[in-house]
Symmetry: none
Subunit: 199 residues, 4 copies
């Protein structure tokens, strides 16, 4: 019991550092995120940073992991009851996606932009996995059967299509395109695609 305060302090430091990393990436971009910057934002010394994370990479990985958790939690709250129509389900998910993207102060977008350098796959995997489950559940309920492999392909396509279309839209400075219109378009496309019977 005497060790608690230290553990808490430690946890606190970890949190602080991950937060600082998030802010740093959101504010300056992944390229300009340096360990001194992160430490400064966290209000600690570089040494401390390295006491908790063996490398810059490890720190970013921890951040991504945390985000993956956040996303998972958020995604799990989406309404998936069988009463909801497929279209509403998809529309909700997309609205949720845009909300995440806009809320995070650009963090998610910046990470998605750099998916090949960070382990964004962790987030993407979480999403894919979750949507795969939803899809299975949903189609089981609705008596429509896809071969599992086909469902995996569909979810892969849909997840990536949606993520990057949204990210590109959000990343454009003066887009002529309207977020709602794109959301609706995506919903149309996905709903249509999922509604098709497999060949």
């Amino acid at each position: 019991m005497r060790k608690r305060p230290q553990q808490e302090r430690s946890r606190q430091m970890v949190t602080t550092l991950i937060d600082a990393t998030a802010r740093c990436i959101a504010e300056r971009g992944l390229d300009n995120t340096t360990t001194p910057h992160i430490a400064e934002l966290a209000g600690v010394s570089v040494g401390s940073l390295y006491q908790y994370f063996g490398s810059k990479e490890a720190l970013i990985e921890a951040l991504v992991e945390k985000l993956a958790d956040d996303v998972a939690r958020g995604v799990k709250r989406l309404p998936v009851s069988s009463e909801v129509s497929l279209r509403d389900l998809v529309a909700t998910a997309i609205r949720f996606g845009f909300a995440m993207l806009n809320a995070s102060n650009g963090l998610y977008a910046e990470l998605a932009r750099n998916w090949h350098r960070v382990q964004t796959q962790k987030v993407a995997d979480v999403l894919q996995q979750h949507f795969l489950e939803i899809a299975r559940f949903y189609f089981l309920k609705h008596y429509r059967e896809y071969p599992i492999e086909d469902l995996e392909v569909r979810v892969f396509i849909i997840t990536n299509s949606t993520i990057f279309t949204m990210v590109r839209l959000v990343s454009q400075e003066n887009s002529m395109l309207n977020e709602d219109a794109v959301a609706e378009g995506l919903t149309d496309m996905i709903t249509g695609y999922l509604g098709q019977s497999s060949k």
Copy 2:
């Protein structure tokens, strides 16, 4: 008339440098592409490189611009006669996309992975613009009318969805997913989406 040889030499140098940049990025990735290395591959000095391009960024931008042209040329060769069914049109375009990605020694994939750092938008814009034209043309022929704005949204969604889904697939090391299956899935999705009447 006396200036001609120099202009030719100049053009030659520009081409050589852009080629070297392309090879460098394809071979070592964007992160490990350095100006000295490009110069070495081009067989010229760094000084010369900076005589023709004010910065590394400018050089890469020029490369992207050239690629955009290449892509445009390739895309224009796609068969768009009104005899071709929509599905075949889309399928051909996607096959073309995968071919580009797999040829080019990974250059396109590497650039697409880093689209936010280079001006990949140039390539994407070219594609979007071209497909928009195709779409307009095609739908005019087929007596189906979308409001232009709707068509723009659709093309935006389709272009980005396709590009990044393909790039992610190509970038995965041991993907369980089959390229042909994904190509077919994308074709299904897009054809279905384009076939939907606007609300």
Copy 3:
């Protein structure tokens, strides 16, 4: 009387720390020996370490001092009765030296390799001093007189020659040379040298 337990505890702590230092150096080499690591091996905090030793250097010095004592004790047990021949005496000492070097888990060798960074002179001095005494005693017994200064020079030469020749041999990875052969050679050399009458 109330202070005794603390003094004991203190002595205990000192011992523990020196032991940990020895283990650390033997296991990871002097270069990779860090105060946090020593503390960890000792099962105490760095803070405690600095309560007992003002600096890393002081700690290592204490270790060396302890080793010097150990060596002194070992050396004093060597048989020096006047019945033993000079050659046997030398041979025994050299065998003892190799034994020390090979035992100790490489600690002595590692310290000897770094003699200029630690105060190895303490160990060397102990050896020199002891061998000087032996030599004096021995030569007195055997009616042969060296001027004292000459004896000091001889002992200096012999001690250093032997130590470093042995250490270099032990440190070589794939030496072509055989330990026994070198031991015999050293014995020959030293015996011969000591047997020479001073000029």
Copy 4:
């Protein structure tokens, strides 16, 4: 022919850097020798240093190699004609050794002190090899035969004994011992050892 100036400049830079490294080690010791210090002493930027040497280690290695060459050259000039007595030969070699040690402003001594961290073996190997040759030559001339293996052991012992005895003497601050006396003692010891017939 037009390339000559650059090659010379390059060679000049290499020399300058190696020299600076030598001075740095001699002045501040190997431990305090840092790439910034070396660059400063050389009057160039760190970047230049790394243009010529891939790492600090490589630079020091180059220095050691150069010293090995110097030593080899010096050693080859020692008089080895068969008219010279064994004793004179040894005495000359030892005088040469002390001269090197004293002349180099402490550089050789500092490197010898750190033999296990730098590739001092290169220098030691040169010495061993050379003395082995001298020994073979000498003993052939004088009709005395050692088995080659025995000669190798002897040369190994002698070389290391001499080097480290000299270095320790030179490294002692207020030694009671006289350099000449030690030189003579070493000469006695070695001459005696080499004069012994192999068992």
